[in-house]
């Protein structure tokens, strides 16, 4: 049996010390009628060699980016991951440690998370960051809960309809049953008109939640929208693309109250959608209302600087049903990846990745839109690294043709529920371009689609 230490002889010795005759008798407190009287019906055990062969076979049934050029977007991106990120994240000292409750035996994790928080603050221009939440979608609901606590307005929030539809669905699942109205401002032409937002905001609204760049890749009027939120005493919650902050104004720069993001782009592989990384930062004044773990700097008994889990009184294991969130685990290891990634990139690197993605995306959009039958939708709006095209033969035709040529585009907008009636959303296909894509690849795609 793998992973067990004690030999039958030792087990016998231990049973004798305990004073029972068999291992079964240790289970005496489980009433016999509740015991499973058969073996579990699961597949037979595999040795490591067999398991490797089994999993490799399954992996080969999938078609990964090594055989297709990945231009897929929609919240998960194929940015380059330096090898140094893996080198750190695969150290047993990080990945086999627990939550750093014992500060004296966990300064490695604690300082790394403190640096993570610091990096996220610098990236976003916000005052404080927690040490991560699950992922981008649940960050939105945690932010709305926090906004409701901070504003003491519990019955109404406003979301832009240009937000990732799955994020919106998460918020709806989290809030719908709580008698909280989730108002969605329709996005008809690639971004939301601030005037439409102003119309639905009121002084009972806890927050205005926007994604910028939005799900369609285009920029919202984030600054103006933040002003509108504040006009009604609501918090401005901005979901950003962390890579975009290499170029774009930071949420802290234009007054966002809570800045959240999916942090996968920061050094975490796509791995079919998770685990990813929820980034959550906000104004200092809200710090005691934040969800998630916070690492703080302090001193030890000898006055030596050190780090601890701070403000734990907010958390569920102390505060229970009054906690700021039910969250217990966070995404420690993924936060470590992001810390290493941001450290490696630094001031210049993040700017270059953002700029390369942006330049290449614009080149791709321009080239693709010159193909007969292909249109760049929402082309009146500036975008960052992702854009929407449509094809006169329909999205399925477009995707199939691209796949045959070795390219994965998408997702197609029709797979989502956008809650608006625009035709555009039925025909559009997202195309995401990261710094990894080359002009040669883009040109090859264009050729193939022209043919």
């Amino acid at each position: 049996m793998p992973y067990l230490f004690n030999t039958p002889e030792q087990q016998q010795e231990m049973l004798e010390t305990i004073g029972v005759s068999s291992v079964e008798s240790l289970f005496a407190t489980i009433p016999s009628e509740l015991r499973l009287d058969r073996k579990l019906n699961i597949p037979p055990a595999l040795t490591e060699m067999e398991l490797q062969s089994h999993v490799s076979n399954l992996a080969e049934k999938n078609i990964g980016p090594s055989s297709r050029v990945c231009m897929l977007g929609g919240g998960a991106y194929d940015h380059f991951i330096p090898a140094a990120v893996d080198e750190i994240a695969r150290r047993g000292e990080f990945y086999t440690a627990y939550t750093p409750y014992q500060a004296e035996a966990s300064q490695g994790s604690l300082q790394t998370f403190f640096e993570f928080q610091s990096l996220i603050c610098r990236l976003t221009g916000m005052d404080v960051s927690n040490a991560s939440l699950y992922e981008g979608g649940t960050c939105v609901s945690e932010a709305t809960f926090m906004a409701m606590r901070v504003t003491n307005r519990h019955n109404r929030i406003v979301l832009l309809g240009s937000m990732h539809p799955e994020y919106r669905q998460v918020v709806e699942s989290y809030l719908n049953h709580l008698n909280c109205e989730v108002v969605v401002v329709p996005c008809v032409n690639g971004c939301v008109d601030p005037a439409d937002v102003d119309e639905v905001m009121n002084d009972q609204t806890a927050c205005l939640v926007m994604q910028h760049p939005n799900f369609l890749g285009t920029l919202e009027e984030a600054e103006q929208l933040t002003e509108i939120a504040h006009k009604y005493g609501a918090l401005s919650v901005v979901s950003y693309d962390p890579i975009s902050l290499g170029l774009l104004k930071r949420p802290g720069d234009y007054g966002a109250d809570i800045a959240i993001a999916e942090g996968q782009s920061l050094g975490t592989p796509l791995q079919f959608g998770g685990p990813y990384l929820g980034l959550f930062s906000c104004s200092k004044k809200f710090v005691r209302r934040m969800p998630g773990r916070l690492i703080g700097q302090t001193v030890d008994r000898n006055g030596k600087s050190c780090f601890v889990l701070n403000l734990q009184a907010r958390e569920q294991h102390i505060r229970r049903d009054k906690a700021t969130s039910n969250i217990c685990s966070n995404q420690g290891l993924i936060a470590i990846r992001a810390t290493v990634y941001l450290s490696l990139l630094g001031k210049q690197g993040i700017r270059e990745v953002a700029n390369l993605s942006c330049q290449k995306a614009h080149y791709a959009a321009e080239q693709l839109s010159q193909i007969e039958g292909i249109n760049l939708l929402f082309n009146n709006r500036p975008f960052f690294k992702e854009f929407v095209i449509s094809c006169s033969e329909g999205p399925d035709y477009l995707l199939r043709k691209a796949r045959q040529a070795g390219f994965d585009l998408g997702p197609e907008l029709s797979r989502f529920d956008f809650q608006n009636g625009s035709e555009l959303y039925q025909t559009g296909v997202l195309v995401a371009i990261t710094e990894q894509r080359t002009r040669a690849e883009i040109d090859r795609l264009v050729m193939a689609l022209k043919a």
Partner: protein, 484 residues
């Protein structure tokens, strides 16, 4: 030097990662993005080299204790060995690099694996409908509670209360509150079990869910669980099993068989997804048939189609509560859990629980004269001892013992949880530790309790830092290194 902040290493102009020049005709940025949306100055990240980064974080890592280096008997956390094959296999091309929006026909191997995971979890729990989506146990609880809520709403029942014993994990009430329920905490019995009388007084037609960890956080199996479940069901409520302690009962008994209607698994505990210094976890849930239609979407289904290309599909249940996260779950962790289950098989899983329980009972017995356990003759996979006698006699606290253990190369047990035991010391050795290690641990505790209390109050003495001042930390929180 290791503990110098990364930011202190920054020098203007240093680079840790280079990128090629753009190979497309470069345009002025403000032709692409309106000037008003552009940052005024570059983001102020530190500027360091790759060697800086490696040396900094490698050195930092060595300040951690972890399962790979130390015995880590942290009760309630199931710090078992993390098999290295999992890290290799979860990193395979075709697994690690799949985009969630690829065409499903390009994902059949992945979907087959996840479908297999659903099936295995259903069998282990005795609850046939599984959602792999929740990112962690706490989200699993919340998701299951929403599922229950949708079920009751669908039945036009207005049930508002969630009950749980006072020994429950903090996540139970927190999740219930988040799901909009009223929380009702029950007292435990003398034995450390659910007090049936107290439960009875709280059960009524407002009761939605009774949440119970079984084995409970004292490491005791709720022997009356069947009767308890019957009482809850009679009141029209549902029973939720917090699966944090599944490591004790794999293949021995199943939540579905002892009355549970819903449960979550902690893949990172029971099925050895690594803890990752705090996460990511994965908290898939399993529920009874009649709750299946309310699960969050999507779930993986096997179709009748006799084609390799589209045998497995992603589907949203008909009355789904909706999405509770983006995409499909913490796949990377689920892959590790899948590998673990496929490695162990039925006999292996049962042996896991047998050895976990054997190790816990053995350690409990050899420690009982110095660290008595108030509740239970036998324990399951963990036990909760109390240092309260010691504290009253010579002032040695649970915290003192925990901290002093660090000096001897043992991670500390969980202390002061569950709340129902004074000066609680909660020890979970797991099945992946040897008798030799347990003997050495017990011997060390024997030594420690003979040491001078004042010396222990100042422990640890050999770690990189001594006890940190948490009061200062909380009073004036310093949460980043460069506040403006």
């Amino acid at each position: 030097l290791a503990t110098e902040l990364l930011f202190a290493l920054s020098q203007p102009g240093r680079r840790g990662a280079l990128f090629p020049d753009s190979d497309v005709p470069k345009k002025p940025l403000n032709e692409l993005i309106p000037q008003s949306a552009l940052a005024i100055q570059p983001t102020d990240l530190p500027e360091v080299t790759e060697p800086d980064v490696i040396r900094h974080f490698v050195n930092l890592s060595t300040l951690n204790m972890c399962v790979d280096t130390h015995f880590y008997p942290l009760g309630s956390c199931t710090m078992k060995y993390n098999p290295k094959r999992h890290e290799r296999l979860a990193g395979l091309p075709g697994i690690v690099d799949l985009h969630p929006y690829q065409n499903p026909s390009d994902l059949q191997g992945m979907l087959e694996m996840l479908y297999g995971m659903q099936e295995m979890l259903a069998e282990i729990s005795g609850l046939p409908a599984v959602s792999l989506q929740p990112a962690a146990g706490a989200q699993g609880e919340f998701t299951a509670l929403l599922t229950a809520k949708a079920y009751f709403e669908d039945r036009r029942e207005n049930r508002t209360k969630v009950l749980f014993p006072n020994s429950a994990h903090g996540t139970n009430p927190a999740s219930a509150a988040l799901a909009g329920f009223d929380c009702v905490q029950l007292e435990s019995s003398e034995e450390g079990l659910i007090d049936l009388e107290d439960l009875k007084t709280h059960l009524d037609d407002q009761t939605a869910v009774f949440m119970v960890t079984n084995p409970n956080t004292l490491g005791l199996f709720e022997k009356d669980i069947k009767q308890i479940a019957q009482m809850v069901h009679d009141a029209g409520g549902l029973v939720y099993i917090d699966g944090a302690n599944m490591n004790a009962i794999l293949g021995y008994t199943r939540p579905g068989d002892f009355g549970g209607d819903m449960m979550h698994f902690n893949v990172h505990k029971t099925f050895t997804g690594p803890h990752g210094a705090g996460g990511p976890g994965a908290g898939p849930i399993a529920v009874r048939d009649f709750l299946a239609d309310y699960l969050p979407g999507p779930v993986i289904k096997q179709t009748e189609i006799d084609s390799e290309e589209n045998q497995f599909v992603l589907e949203t249940p008909s009355k789904s509560i909706g999405r509770i996260r983006t995409f499909y779950g913490n796949i990377g962790i689920l892959v590790r859990g899948y590998c673990y289950l496929r490695t162990l098989g039925a006999e292996g899983l049962k042996a896991v629980s047998e050895n976990a329980v054997l190790n816990a009972n053995y350690l409990k017995i050899i420690l009982k004269d110095v660290l008595p356990v108030p509740n239970g003759e036998l324990c399951m996979h963990e036990f909760v001892a109390s240092a309260s006698k010691m504290k009253s006699e010579n002032g040695i606290t649970a915290m003192d013992i925990a901290k002093r253990l660090l000096d001897f190369g043992f991670h500390a047990p969980t202390v002061y949880f569950p709340l129902v035991v004074p000066e609680a010391i909660m020890v979970e050795p797991t099945e992946t530790e040897s008798k030799e290690t347990l003997d050495a641990f017990a011997e060390t505790i024997r030594q420690i309790v003979k040491e001078a209390p004042e010396f222990l109050h100042d422990a640890p003495h050999s770690t990189d830092i001594s006890r940190p001042d948490e009061v200062i930390a909380a009073r004036n929180p310093i949460l980043q290194c460069c506040e403006t």
